[in-house]
């Protein structure tokens, strides 16, 4: 089956995921169209990270189906490397490679994985570093950068692979309050350029502003979802209401 752009780019269908006895996802479904930005919110431990990690096969699933551009992720014969060339990911703890400079962090994967020409890669890596507003930090090591700067390098590193969709797992949760905004601005830029984004976040104001669709998860199920305006102002489920009242 070949995927076309009028179909969801990511389609999650009735996904069940357990760690041993503990069932973390209990039948989750959602769709993401090309160019859409969706935000997943919910209390800690509700399975948000697990859900997005399943999308790029960092976690396997026991039941259900995840299609990324028509590729079935829940398939023994899945070519994980091909999948991950399409799906980028940014982590809460940045996970930059500490022995490489910012520029090298961005350049490594295109050179080693995509086997692209080194000079071309360097040119586009410098452009990406400029795009995340880190000009002048090309030769700094991650240890010499602030959390917000590291996270922006991590975003540039992910973009260097030219993914079709990027997963963001609470990327501002570990940051000092004063650097949160610079990272959110970077993500907003991406969203405006039409990058497909799946974000797990606790930044409600941000979610309301950039998201096309909000999903609220609790204990492994999607309790409620909708457009930001309706979701935030007219939440129906008592669990959603309680969560929003605590966090807003």
């Amino acid at each position: 089956m070949s995927w076309t752009e009028d179909q969801p780019m990511v389609s999650v269908r009735d996904v069940h995921k357990s760690f041993g006895e503990l069932e973390v996802l209990k039948g989750v479904s959602l769709d993401v169209m090309k160019g859409e930005v969706i935000c997943i919110i919910g209390p800690s431990g509700s399975g948000k990270s697990t859900l997005i990690r399943c999308i790029n096969a960092l976690n396997d699933i026991q039941q259900g189906s995840i299609l990324v551009e028509g590729i079935e992720v829940h398939d023994k014969h899945l070519d994980k490397l091909e999948l991950r060339k399409k799906v980028g990911m940014v982590f809460q703890q940045y996970n930059l490679f500490p022995h490489k400079t910012a520029l090298e962090n961005v350049m490594m994967a295109p050179i080693r994985v995509l086997k692209e020409n080194k000079d071309d890669v360097e040119k586009s890596a410098r452009a990406l570093i400029k795009k995340v507003r880190l000009e002048g930090k090309e030769n700094s090591y991650p240890g010499e950068l602030s959390g917000g700067q590291q996270q922006r390098v991590a975003i540039a590193r992910s973009l260097a692979m030219k993914p079709d969709v990027i997963l963001f797992d609470e990327v501002t949760a570990a940051l000092d309050p004063e650097t949160v905004n610079e990272v959110l601005v970077t993500i907003k830029d991406l969203a405006e350029e039409g990058m497909t984004c799946i974000l797990v976040t606790h930044e409600m104001g941000f979610a309301r502003e950039v998201a096309d669709h909000i999903y609220f998860t609790d204990r492994g199920v999607i309790v409620e979802h909708g457009k930001p305006a309706t979701f935030f102002d007219e939440a129906k489920d008592p669990r959603t209401k309680e969560f929003l009242s605590q966090i807003l």
């Binding site: 790029n56 990911m89 982590f91 703890q93 996970n95 500490p98 994985v113 240890g143 992910s158």
Partner: protein
């Protein structure tokens, strides 16, 4: 992650959270050397009083034998360098085997590592001495296996097992986020290991590896027990040639201790320095 099955007991490999647990471990200290030097200087003068007239002085005898003893010591160093090289090469492969994704490779590598890590070095040396043939015939070529070569092989076995543990410990002590970041950038497992994980491990592996080398150097004297002409054997022979004068025992063995100390102490200091440096930087 599958590679986190076994916990390390190497102190330097402990996760960096919290304070490192200090386990008792032998480390050369400067005062060890001072004591040795004291014995070496004092014993000839003390024993000089005891020695009969007409005999050469202790210092004279020691000076006469010194070139031979130093040659013997260099032989110890040669044994240590080759045993370290072989042990490191094979041990690194064994260590990577311990983090293999294939269950049976992992278990086999683990079993070999544990076996050789928990055997007395001397027993392994005897094992190599008496179980290896004195020559190997490969095709039409006969390769002799002299005792010193067997000693190198015998000593490389425990080195191999310890290096295997050092490699495994270093790899598993890296945060799993490093693996995940590389995986999500579509690195293959091999690329992840060689481009991301191992380069970061070198720093963590260096201090325990150097510590192991200095332990190995001190252990090379075990080869005297199986008849290799290293410094201890030669010392014994020199003493015998001097007619078993008891006043020579302390100075001669002190001399051997001191040359080992002079060689191993800087290594120990450097190891401590690196450990401190890497502990700060992480």
């Amino acid at each position: 992650m599958t590679t986190r099955n076994y916990k390390t007991d190497l102190p330097v490999m402990m996760p960096v959270d919290g304070k490192p647990k200090n386990r008792p471990r032998f480390r050369l200290k400067l005062w060890h050397g001072a004591v040795l030097l004291g014995i070496c200087l004092l014993s000839p003068t003390l024993s000089f009083a005891q020695s009969d007239a007409g005999q050469a002085s202790v210092l004279e005898v020691l000076l006469r034998w010194m070139p031979l003893l130093l040659k013997g010591f260099i032989f110890n160093l040669v044994i240590s360098v080759f045993a370290m090289a072989i042990g490191t090469g094979v041990g690194a492969m064994l260590g990577l085997g311990q983090i293999s994704l294939h269950g049976w490779v992992r278990k086999l590598a683990w079993a070999i590592t544990q076996f050789f890590r928990n055997s007395p070095w001397l027993v392994l040396l005897f094992f190599a001495m008496f179980l290896l043939p004195f020559q190997l015939r490969i095709g039409g070529v006969t390769i002799p296996l002299p005792d010193w070569l067997k000693a190198i092989i015998g000593l490389s076995l425990p080195v191999m097992a310890n290096v295997s543990e050092i490699v495994r410990g270093a790899v598993t002590s890296l945060p799993s986020g490093q693996w995940e970041a590389a995986e999500s950038l579509a690195y293959s497992r091999r690329q992840t290991l060689w481009l991301v994980i191992l380069p970061q491990c070198v720093k963590r592996m260096l201090p325990p590896w150097m510590n192991l080398y200095s332990i190995l150097t001190m252990a090379t004297v075990l080869a005297s027990i199986v008849g290799v002409s290293e410094v201890m054997t030669l010392t014994g022979q020199a003493l015998a040639a001097e007619g078993g004068r008891t006043d020579l025992l302390a100075p001669f063995y002190s001399f051997v201790l001191i040359i080992f100390f002079i060689y191993c102490y800087p290594i120990a200091r450097w190891t401590v320095y690196l450990e401190k440096k890497f502990a700060v930087k992480g």
